[in-house]
């Protein structure tokens, strides 16, 4: 553990991933009490209440959508996709941090991941839930799309059309959702056992007993458990990269200038990680205060995540630049026009510049250690990034569609109240789920926290093994 590489008090020494002075008991008590004994903070009720109102707005919007049709939105010909797919891509992107943190950082043995992975995975699940809504409701006839998009034997012997990126989407998103759910619930098993053993209320005891599947922390179980967990991480790593790659295919595979670009897969993945970490920070910063878990989600975590945000932000900006370059280098009239329209004289050019401010300019603040450690500031930067990533999708989807090949078909796109209700409704759905989760389940993986303690790193006397 590199903490030891520096004399104590050395400024280069990284911050601890867990505040000193904790014992197994203290961790266990702290984290179980949030769910089992402590009273819920008032602010939790306020936030959840507001979020729930938005969620109700979403249900209204969807009900009206099903009753009337896509026409209640601003979509038209040529802008066949707008808020619906923007939101979809935005949420899927946000959904990437979780698995990334739990899987890739695990493989890289980043011990600081442990206190945020559970919570990030939950965020992934809920973000994917929000995202998965859109491929369904954006269709003209959802009641058919819901099952026609899956391969099932039927009397007409009709099957999905596997050449379509939309079908790839269906496979990628469902797989990603399922695997993330498995990953998350597997991680929960030992903690459910911990809850079982802490719970006083017999009913709760029984409930957690069932959820823990009778976990008893046997060494044999731990051995297989760790192996399985490692393999899951190994599987999720290509998966998480593939999902946004496939989403980017929705655009890259088409012929549309502004969509038809080979840079899209890496650039989308980077964007996803970018958005994901920004969203983790956006949630972690208030919640750690709300439930007083600053000991476990320390400045170290915030700083590391801020660094990753900065780096991925730069990768994304590189993506923007290479889009410009390839557009110019292609010497293709349509590409060149698309760039000019997107960045300069187009009616939506302002969104492009706003996007650059949000995704490129503002995050540059994170270069400074001082600013990085200014938590409110980091929070604000992340807010900018969240908005910026949404705008990025707006620029890609709407600005490319509204002026494509044949000038006579060019049209403008104006969103309606229902578009906004749907967007904010999903944010409500997401927040509600998130807050219900932190209230009912361990937001931090308890058993993994133990391993962070120095006393956990014990070895039989005499042996000088390093873990």
């Amino acid at each position: 553990m590199h903490e030891h590489q520096f004399p104590p008090g050395d400024f280069r020494a990284p911050l601890p991933v867990i505040a000193p002075g904790h014992s197994f008991r203290s961790i266990n008590e702290k984290l179980t009490s949030i769910v089992l004994t402590r009273n819920t903070p008032l602010v939790w009720f306020i936030v959840t209440g507001i979020a729930f109102t938005f969620l109700m707005g979403l249900t209204v919007a969807i009900a009206y959508l099903l009753a009337k049709g896509i026409g209640i939105w601003g979509n038209n010909i040529p802008v066949g996709w707008a808020f619906d797919i923007i939101n979809f891509v935005w949420w899927i992107g946000i959904g990437h941090a979780g698995t990334l943190i739990s899987a890739i950082l695990l493989l890289f043995k980043q011990d600081w991941r442990t206190s945020i992975n559970r919570f990030a995975e939950a965020m992934t699940l809920f973000a994917v839930a929000c995202a998965a809504l859109f491929p369904l409701i954006h269709t003209g006839r959802p009641w058919l799309a819901i099952y026609w998009l899956f391969p099932y034997p039927n009397a007409m012997t009709l099957w999905p059309q596997f050449r379509s990126p939309l079908i790839w989407d269906v496979f990628a998103v469902t797989t990603y959702g399922t695997v993330s759910l498995l990953f998350w619930s597997v991680g929960l098993i030992p903690d459910m056992a911990a809850f079982r053993d802490r719970a006083v209320n017999p009913k709760l005891k029984k409930l957690f007993g069932v959820l823990s599947l009778g976990w008893r922390g046997s060494a044999r179980h731990w051995a297989r458990y760790e192996k399985a967990y490692l393999l899951l991480a190994g599987l999720s790593t290509p998966l998480v990269l593939s999902v946004h790659t496939v989403v980017s295919f929705d655009f890259a595979v088409s012929v549309l200038p502004g969509w038809h670009a080979t840079i899209f897969p890496p650039y989308f993945v980077a964007g996803a990680i970018y958005a994901g970490f920004a969203m983790v920070l956006t949630l972690a910063i208030p919640i750690r205060v709300m439930f007083g878990v600053q000991d476990f989600i320390t400045m170290r975590h915030i700083e590391n995540m801020a660094k990753i945000t900065l780096v991925t932000g730069l990768i994304v900006t590189y993506g923007y630049m290479s889009e410009l370059f390839f557009g110019w280098y292609s010497a293709n009239d349509y590409e060149l026009f698309m760039l000019k329209n997107r960045t300069w004289f187009g009616p939506y050019a302002w969104t492009y510049w706003l996007l650059l401010i949000c995704n490129f300019l503002v995050p540059q603040m994170l270069w400074s250690k001082r600013l990085r450690r200014n938590i409110p500031l980091v929070f604000i930067v992340c807010m900018f990034v969240n908005v910026g990533m949404w705008l990025e999708r707006f620029v890609i989807i709407v600005t490319s569609l509204h002026r494509d090949f044949v000038p006579s078909a060019w049209e403008m796109y104006y969103p309606t109240i229902w578009d906004f209700m749907t967007l904010f409704g999903t944010i409500g759905l997401f927040t509600t789920l998130m807050f219900v989760f932190v209230r009912l389940l361990p937001m931090i993986a308890i058993f993994e926290m133990y391993t962070l303690l120095p006393q956990a790193r014990s070895k039989p006397a005499g042996e000088e093994a390093t873990s």
């Binding site: 197994f24 399922t178 695997v179 498995l182 051995a223 593939s242």
Partner: protein, 183 residues
């Protein structure tokens, strides 16, 4: 099978409690060296070196995951090939029926999906989970096994097991206390 018939309900084994992972690990080594095989350790978190200490070798999970992955690959690609080329071939935008390039992403996803299922359910199956009851839960203080205490069990079915000697042996391993587990 030296088994004390007078000791009422049949005995599952003996459970020793330790305060630190270090003690448990040391004890585990001792127990293995003493030749006990039907042993198990219980800890709130995985302890490095414990499998070796107890002589546990885990080789089953990986092959299961591989098998799952291959199945997924074959199912995924097979489904696409059969539907697009054999069952209902269509001229879609002048592309060939067997558009293998386009078939890669779904096949990849099914591979991952099946492998993941194999990993999770394979692991649970090998662990015999879910398992509603286990004798160790009979021990009063075992509830601490998920928070701060560490336990080592030697089962009665172990050839070397003897209620008396084994208990003394365990007590000698700086254990906090040793309790009997009823079956």
């Amino acid at each position: 099978m030296a088994h004390d018939l007078q000791s009422g309900p049949s005995l599952f084994g003996l459970l020793a409690e330790f305060d630190t992972p270090g003690q448990l690990l040391k004890a585990a080594n001792k127990v293995r060296e003493a030749g006990y095989t039907k042993t198990d350790a219980y800890s709130p978190f995985p302890i490095h070196g414990m499998p070796e200490a107890l002589g546990i070798r885990e080789r089953a999970v990986a092959p299961i995951v591989l098998a799952g992955g291959l199945t997924g690959l074959i199912v995924g690609y097979g489904l696409q090939y059969w539907t697009m080329v054999i069952a209902y071939p269509l001229n879609v935008g002048g592309r060939p029926h067997h558009a293998w390039v386009n078939f890669i992403p779904p096949a990849f996803e099914t591979t991952i999906l099946f492998a993941a299922f194999a990993a999770v359910f394979g692991m649970l199956a090998l662990n015999g989970l879910p398992q509603p009851y286990h004798p160790v839960f009979g021990a009063k203080r075992f509830a601490l096994a998920t928070s701060e205490k560490f336990f080592l069990a030697i089962e009665a079915t172990d050839p070397m097991f003897d209620a008396k000697t084994t208990r003394d042996f365990l007590s000698s391993l700086s254990s906090r206390e040793v309790v009997e587990l009823e079956d």
